[in-house]
């Protein structure tokens, strides 16, 4: 049986891992290569690196980090942030990443998903969706780091992303991000029910139970950052707990 995946997310700024709340109050945390190696030892199933600055001169520092991570660890990892073109995708895959996530650029030009999945294969093109519940109860897609409401329905966009060739979806619930009150189950489940590709829940993990909740709802993977970075939730203990709840887990590195 396919194991549910635990995915630490590392936001990288100028070659360092940083952490903010609701996309703000950014703090310096660690060296990304050292942190990646630690998560690998602890049994993380996959890693995500977001380049949160992505200015041109800092792009090369980031690509260097990607290559060092690939050298250090033997588990899959995804790279996102600032991916706008086929060339951007090629450069991170060439640096050693296994998957690339596209977000705002795909909203502005959905063909990017089709062109990139045709060229590199669906397995490495991940559509990352930043979504928030609006006053009328719908979930809208936001872009530009969560600053701009596109008015697009998040569930429809997820379906369109799958049809265009995305091999996986990350659902970032902006309301719950950094709040540690649990994943946004309603939205994530609606999306998971609407598509037939794996879905990664993101935003809101604070307790062990938040992970078991999201997995028992049929979500394939759960992403989190600060609870892992600050060792509030050690991955081996988390996996032990989830396993005891009957959730299939890969239990060693």
């Amino acid at each position: 049986m396919l194991a549910k995946r635990i995915i630490p997310c590392l936001d990288v700024d100028k070659g360092r891992v940083v952490k903010g709340k609701k996309f703000q109050d950014i703090k310096d945390v660690a060296n990304p290569v050292e942190l990646a190696a630690r998560y690998n030892r602890e049994g993380a199933d996959e890693l995500v690196f977001y380049d949160i600055t992505a200015s041109n001169e800092e792009r090369n520092i980031f690509l260097d980090v990607v290559e060092q991570v690939a050298r250090e660890i033997a588990i899959p990892f995804m790279v996102g942030g600032g991916i706008r073109t086929i060339e951007d995708i090629h450069s991170v895959l060439h640096a050693g990443a296994d998957k690339v996530s596209v977000n705002s650029a795909a909203v502005q030009r959905p063909e990017l998903i089709k062109e990139s999945s045709d060229k590199f294969g669906s397995q490495c093109i991940v559509l990352s969706i930043d979504a928030k519940k609006t006053a009328d109860g719908d979930f809208h897609v936001f872009i530009n780091g969560g600053r701009k409401d596109t008015g697009m329905d998040a569930i429809e966009w997820a379906k369109q992303g799958e049809a265009l060739g995305a091999g996986e979806l990350v659902v970032n619930a902006m309301d719950s991000d950094g709040e540690k009150n649990g994943y946004q189950i309603e939205l994530t489940k609606k999306i998971a029910d609407a598509v037939n590709i794996p879905v990664i829940a993101s935003g809101g993990a604070g307790k062990y139970e938040h992970f078991s909740k999201v997995f028992t709802e049929g979500i394939d993977a759960a992403l989190a950052a600060s609870v892992f970075h600050y060792e509030e939730i050690p991955i081996p203990e988390l996996k032990e707990y989830l396993s005891s709840q009957g959730i299939p887990m890969r239990r060693r590195a």
Binding site: A74, S122, Q123
Partner: protein, 202 residues
């Protein structure tokens, strides 16, 4: 030296780093002379079957691989590289493969999510093989694929995974070995598998 066939197939770096960890020298190449001189060959692969076959044919690597296979040189196919060993794939309207092994690649059942993406457990087939030594309990390995091999010769199956039916995960017929998952992305279990494989051919 291990020749990793260079035909534009995705992320090769991780594979090279994994071989480095085992102290194995590898070279990404499409040069017939270098492939001929190599002790063994790895055929990597991600992406679509047809594109991969066309790329191999463009550089006449298909003929080289068939010749080397016939000469008994050990060849390891990883992910799509394993599927290319077979006679046929139904991906994108169908395409013939290298035909080094009998069987074909068929789409994974839509009863489960496709691609088969993530960590799944290797289940040993009937006969125990040295390839599976020292993997420990619950050997999880990392899969990413939408097509799986069907109709293979049963005595070539070394291990399988369960996902919408039986997914052949490791196959072996004499000097030809295939791994449907990515050993270079499968943590310690993957490194152990590569080590077992390298020991078996050296």
């Amino acid at each position: 030296m291990i020749a990793i066939i260079d035909y534009g197939a995705g992320n090769i770096k991780s594979l090279q780093f994994a071989l480095d960890k085992l102290g194995k020298t590898s070279k990404l190449t499409m040069d017939p002379e270098e492939i001929n001189q190599a002790d063994s060959i790895i055929l990597p692969g991600v992406g679509a079957f047809k594109d991969a076959m066309e790329a191999l044919q463009r550089y006449q690597l298909d003929t080289i691989l068939k010749d080397e296979a016939a000469n008994g040189k050990p060849i390891l196919g990883i992910c799509l590289g394993m599927q290319l060993f077979y006679e046929y794939s139904e991906e994108n309207g169908g395409c013939h493969g290298l035909g080094l092994l009998s069987g074909s690649a068929k789409r994974i059942s839509d009863k489960v999510k496709v691609p088969h993406m993530g960590w799944n457990i290797l289940q040993q087939a009937d006969q125990a093989r040295a390839l599976l030594n020292n993997l420990g309990d619950e050997p999880y390995v990392y899969f990413v694929h939408s097509y799986a091999v069907d109709g293979l010769e049963e005595n070539t199956l070394v291990a399988s995974a369960d996902y919408g039916g039986r997914v052949p995960a490791i196959v072996q017929n004499k000097n030809i070995t295939g791994m449907q998952f990515h050993p270079e992305k499968s943590g310690d279990v993957g490194i152990a598998l590569l080590k077992n494989y390298e020991e078996s051919i050296s």
